[in-house]
């Protein structure tokens, strides 16, 4: 029951979906199944919310390190949830869009969610610089190739690249940095991307088959013993 049934479910669902591609009357099946999947995912969100609360309430009650901040999380969570589920401050009625202008949900989204998310993302600009300084060092042949490719592309993305190599005559124009950068992007870069993608494509296909056949089953967790 605990392991057999799930394996059978995976096998049946997987095989049916594979063959539905070849049988036109069943084409809509995959479509409906993906609709189902989204609905299940919403239930999972509630599972996640519950776990989040549990983690922070435990932290709070045991006065673990930084417990004060757990209050912030819990208050933020409930406040946002109330604003969202009850559409507080929404100018329209129950059928209005959740993100309607003027609703509390949208206001919180714009004045808290957006600045937090975009700033976190913007930190990448700093980390790109520190990573280039730290890691782009010509330690061996592979690292040197990596470094050179990155440097040429960086140079090619600025007017500086055009400026330093504009003296090169037309018959050697591939040596001009902007041309070289485009060539690298379109040729060796493309080859590398493609090789990785072919590999991944095969890997996914083979992994999917292993899942359907029940060979790969770690995702089901432990044995019946548990």
């Amino acid at each position: 029951m605990k392991r057999g049934v799930p394996l059978i479910i995976t096998f049946v669902v997987g095989t049916v979906l594979i063959f539905s591609v070849f049988i036109p009357p069943m084409e809509n099946l995959g479509e409906n199944f993906t609709l189902f999947f989204d609905i299940i995912a919403v239930f999972a969100f509630f599972l996640g919310g519950g776990n989040l609360l549990r983690v922070h309430l435990t932290k709070l009650s045991r006065r673990k390190r930084d417990w004060e901040y757990s209050i912030v999380t819990i208050v933020g969570f409930f406040f946002m949830l109330a604003c969202g589920l009850f559409k507080i401050g929404n100018p329209g009625d129950i059928s209005a869009s959740l993100t309607a202008e003027g609703s509390w949900f949208q206001t919180i989204y714009e004045s808290m969610f957006v600045p937090l998310g975009s700033t976190m993302y913007a930190l990448l600009a700093f980390f790109v610089a520190s990573a280039s300084y730290r890691a782009f060092r010509a330690k061996n042949r592979e690292a040197t190739i990596l470094l050179l490719a990155a440097f040429i592309i960086l140079l090619g993305r600025t007017p500086l690249g055009t400026f330093v190599t504009s003296w090169i005559p037309d018959s050697f124009s591939i040596m001009q940095i902007p041309n070289l950068a485009i060539w690298i992007m379109n040729s060796p870069n493309l080859a590398g991307q493609r090789a990785i993608m072919i590999g991944i494509g095969l890997g996914v296909v083979s992994m999917s088959l292993r899942l359907i056949l029940g060979i790969e089953r770690t995702y089901l967790g432990g044995d019946d013993k548990l």
């Binding site: 996640g48 790109v128 770690t218």
Partner: protein, 406 residues
């Protein structure tokens, strides 16, 4: 020039439609004076192949007035009926210059757009001028029937590929099961995992295991579960601490199960508690913010990133470097591989991540499936060489084999 004319006529059309609404008698006299155009000819209707029925295709020779003179045809309206005598219903239209219409029905029976299967149908195409009143109908075509097909012929190559690959895999899995030795080349990232756990034990610091933003259905996440089960087993044996913050609630439940059973296998079920694996939030940067905090506060000895990663890869890896952790990564997200390669100590590239789960299991069946993958790769190489020769000698027949997009 033609477009300008079309725009002009469309403007006129909208204008006249507006007028018609206000006052039906006030229609511009020019519009009334258009001579009826010539109708279309050679209308044929046939069943759409390789589909689930409820669809027909119409083809015709356009009206000679298509794109010339004042009685220019603006559009073709398609009409359908279930008998040649009963009234025809407009089912769609195409602008001038077209000579084909795919009449694809929808499946709701109540809908006007429903096309019954295995029923006699009759079609007619009208050539319509700027003035919708002035039109020319074609002869009625019919009866014609729409059928449902039980097999999609266009997809034979895909089916072949499925069967060949499935067959290869079954073969090698059986061979491996019988006990044949299969060689597998070492992967640096995998052997590094063992050392890293040892290091964490020595330092007395925790191990941070991150799934990234993958959901439980993604292949990379599933591969990551296997790696986690191995890591957890060793962590349990060494009695080191393990932290698994999750982005997706379903991934969290599975990870809890995986870790729990690994602790059981290692003989330390009591050392497991549900707080090791916990949910943070399903938002990329909120998740990153929290994981960054964990890195600087718990100072893990080792960070393992396995699964699906997006923009957060470098934020995590650089923060990890600040905390002085050894970092091992693996992802199939091509865009993020460069960042991991640069900022981490070991990286599993794309397919290597999937292979890793087979490596760690060391089960013959898993290795058998790797072997099958390799044969498929060899096939790719051979096909590519043949294909490139064919392409260079203009043998399009060969390259057409791959035109299986639909």
């Amino acid at each position: 020039m033609r477009y300008i004319f079309v725009i002009f006529s469309l403007v006129l059309l909208t204008f006249s439609a507006g007028l018609a609404q206000v006052d039906t008698l006030g229609v511009d006299s020019i519009l009334l004076n258009i001579a009826p155009p010539s109708p279309i000819s050679n209308l044929t209707v046939y069943d759409k192949a390789n589909d689930h029925g409820h669809a027909l295709i119409l083809e015709w020779t356009p009206s000679p007035d298509d794109g010339a003179g004042m009685n220019t045809v603006m559009l073709y309206e398609i009409f359908r009926s279930e008998s040649p005598d009963s009234p025809f219903v407009n089912v769609g239209s195409v602008p001038l210059g077209n000579s084909r219409y795919d009449n694809i029905g929808i499946l709701e029976k109540e809908s006007r757009d429903y096309i019954p299967d295995n029923t006699d149908l009759y079609y007619r195409v009208d050539a319509v001028t700027i003035n919708p009143e002035v039109r020319a109908s074609s002869e009625v075509f019919g009866p014609v029937r729409s059928y449902s097909n039980w097999f999609h012929r266009g997809r034979v190559p895909v089916l072949l590929a499925v069967l060949i690959f499935g067959g290869l895999m079954m073969y090698f899995v059986t061979v491996a099961r019988k006990g044949a030795e299969l060689y597998v080349r070492p992967l640096a990232g995998i052997s590094a995992v063992d050392d890293a756990i040892g290091r964490a034990t020595e330092m007395g610091r925790p191990i941070l295991y991150i799934f990234g933003l993958g959901t439980a259905d993604m292949i990379s996440t599933i591969a990551s579960f296997t790696i986690l089960s191995r890591v957890a087993k060793q962590v349990a044996e060494y009695q080191t601490q393990l932290i698994v913050p999750c982005y997706d609630p379903i991934v969290m439940t599975v990870a809890q199960e995986v870790v729990k059973s690994s602790y059981l296998d290692a003989g330390h079920p009591d050392a497991y508690n549900d707080d090791m694996v916990f949910y943070i939030t399903t938002n990329q940067f909120a998740y990153v913010a929290a994981v960054n905090g964990i890195m600087l506060r718990e100072l893990p000895a080792t960070n393992i990133y396995m699964g699906k990663f997006y923009a957060e890869s470098l934020i995590l890896a650089e923060t990890g470097a600040v905390a002085g952790s050894i970092q091992i990564a693996g992802t199939d997200e091509v865009g993020q591989l460069p960042f991991f390669i640069i900022a981490c100590d070991y990286t599993l590239i794309g397919e290597e991540l999937y292979a890793a789960s087979a490596y760690l299991g060391r089960e013959p069946i898993m290795l058998g499936s790797l072997k099958a993958q390799d044969y498929a790769k060899a096939a790719v190489i051979i096909l590519s060489i043949l294909g490139i020769i064919a392409a260079n000698f203009g043998l399009t027949a060969f390259t057409n084999i791959f035109k299986v997009l639909d």
